[in-house]
């Protein structure tokens, strides 16, 4: 087994003023080429864990490692980390800020020290990959929800990160758009990068992911390939798959089988 690129090691984190910790001993390893679906109920700590991967939150206990070394939290170290680990936020409105999509896509590369020309090239490359070339001169608020998401994704891809941490980016997309976004993530993994996608969508977890990591109450309780989760009745229940008939049964059959 190859060494992990990014590793979360027994992280503890409690938000200021909160009664219960958001993370208590969460561990996860992310290797090159992996596509991990991060699952778990609302409030189980998925977003909080992802924020640690990019150094935005600092664990109160435990370590985040990049290529085996504990990450530092000073300016230089964070700059290197953030150009290698990209984070896409649950709500693209909070990520897009610039006057035009082009400016927004160039923001990350410029921050990591690219020249204007290089930044523009990378922005255009990322836009092409996310199929939003035609939107480059638009302001973010003129975009639809799905387009905003693609722009946010492109803004992170333009930094050419090795690891992509994506927080519920596929929820709220139509099936075509979702297919699109998942295939962008696929390409990223196929080129040796890795993806951690937090999601509540069982079909995404089952069909897209190479691994599922399940979080419960601030801990990652199980990491395994999807078929293990979907064949074992225990794990099926714990990811909530038994609440729905996920067989090929048509809706009417499901309804009648319950009566």
């Amino acid at each position: 087994m190859t060494a992990p690129l990014l590793a979360f090691d027994a992280l503890h984190y409690r938000y200021p003023g909160a009664d219960t910790p958001a993370l208590c001993g969460a561990s996860l390893e992310v290797r090159a080429g992996e596509k991990i679906a991060l699952m778990g109920r609302n409030g189980s700590g998925k977003s909080t864990l992802l924020l640690h991967g990019n150094g935005l939150l600092r664990p109160q206990q435990g370590v985040v490692r990049w290529r085996g070394a504990a990450i530092g939290y000073h300016r230089e170290a964070l700059r290197t980390l953030r150009s290698q680990v990209g984070l896409i936020f649950q709500n693209p409105d909070e990520q897009l800020f610039a006057a035009t999509v082009l400016q927004d896509l160039a923001f990350g590369p410029l921050n990591s020290g690219a020249s204007e020309q290089e930044a523009r090239k990378r922005a255009e490359w990322a836009a092409a990959r996310c199929q939003i070339e035609h939107l480059l001169s638009q302001p973010p608020h003129a975009l639809s929800g799905g387009q905003k998401l693609c722009a946010a994704l492109a803004g992170v891809l333009a930094m050419r990160p090795l690891v992509l941490l994506a927080d519920e980016v596929t929820s709220g997309l139509d099936p075509w758009m979702r297919r699109n976004v998942l295939s962008i993530l696929d390409d990223h993994a196929a080129e040796g990068g890795s993806v951690v996608l937090s999601t509540h969508e069982l079909d995404v977890a089952r069909c897209w992911a190479s691994k599922i990591a399940l979080m419960e109450e601030g801990r990652v309780v199980h990491v395994a390939p999807p078929q293990e989760f979907f064949t074992s009745s225990t794990w099926r229940a714990r990811i909530g798959a038994d609440l729905w008939e996920l067989s090929d049964a048509t809706p009417t059959q499901t309804a009648s089988s319950k009566t």
């Binding site: 300016r75 409105d93 990520q95 410029l110 302001p139």
Partner: protein, 248 residues
């Protein structure tokens, strides 16, 4: 505001340098003020509205609506300047004094104000405000101020969207049926909006940091502008008309 912004981004004059459009609009305003002739003001008004529509790509209806809204405001201020109402003497009576010599003079004043408003509209309809701000920055305005404007602008849209969403949510639950309900809804809207925008502001900051922002000036590309050949021609034509009319 959304529409204004959409026109600014879609118009044919988008690729003319923002500073050259700013200079053009300011020159028109100055000419109207200095020459101070009704026929110049009228010509400027027609030119500016016409250019906004034919060249900027705004619909006539929208340009008219903008002008009407501003016109209402302008008329009110002209009336305020022209008519003075005040108590007279010790008896406590009231009198109205007309400070402007004639209705014609008031008309000329109004026309001039309209022309200036139309010139500003032209600028607003053809130039995305953020590009204008960035161009002014390259002239030497303080970076911190410009960055703040850039982010604020984006933030205003976010705030408006949040406000609209929350208002709709309240309305759908009869939040605005009746006076008490309206007052209650409006009050909670204010409080919530503050909390929500504080939170989303905080998250926006985190999102900037996630892409390597370390405080200080925001990194931006220097935009390139290519003016169509017709731009200087039409601009000169406009100036020529105004100056010509002034000599009549």
């Amino acid at each position: 505001m959304h529409r204004l912004d959409a026109y600014a981004h879609a118009g044919r004059l988008r690729h003319v340098h923002p500073l050259s459009k700013l200079a053009f609009a300011l020159a028109i305003i100055l000419l109207c003020l200095i020459l101070d002739r009704p026929q110049v003001s009228a010509a400027a008004l027609l030119w500016m509205a016409g250019l906004s529509i034919l060249w900027g790509g705004a619909t006539p209806g929208f340009v008219l609506r903008l002008l009407t809204a501003e016109g209402l405001f302008l008329t009110l201020s002209v009336v305020a300047v022209a008519v003075q109402i005040g108590p007279i003497g010790q008896e406590g009576g009231w009198s109205t004094t007309i400070t402007i010599a004639s209705p014609a003079q008031a008309g000329a004043l109004l026309l001039r104000s309209f022309a200036c408003a139309a010139a500003m509209n032209f600028l607003a309809l053809t130039t995305p405000i953020l590009e204008l701000v960035a161009a002014v920055q390259r002239l030497g305005a303080p970076t911190a101020l410009v960055d703040a404007t850039l982010v604020m602008y984006r933030y205003i849209f976010l705030l408006l969207e949040t406000l609209m969403r929350m208002q709709r949510a309240q309305e759908s639950r009869n939040g605005y049926a009746g006076l008490t309900a309206t007052l209650r809804s409006a009050a909670s809207l204010g409080g919530q909006l503050f909390a929500l925008s504080w939170r989303s502001g905080r998250r926006m900051e985190m999102a900037l940091q996630a892409r390597g922002y370390e405080g200080g000036a925001l990194s931006m590309l220097t935009p390139t502008y290519t003016a169509p050949w017709s731009w200087p021609v039409i601009a000169s034509l406009v100036f020529a008309t105004l100056l010509g009319l002034a000599r009549l």
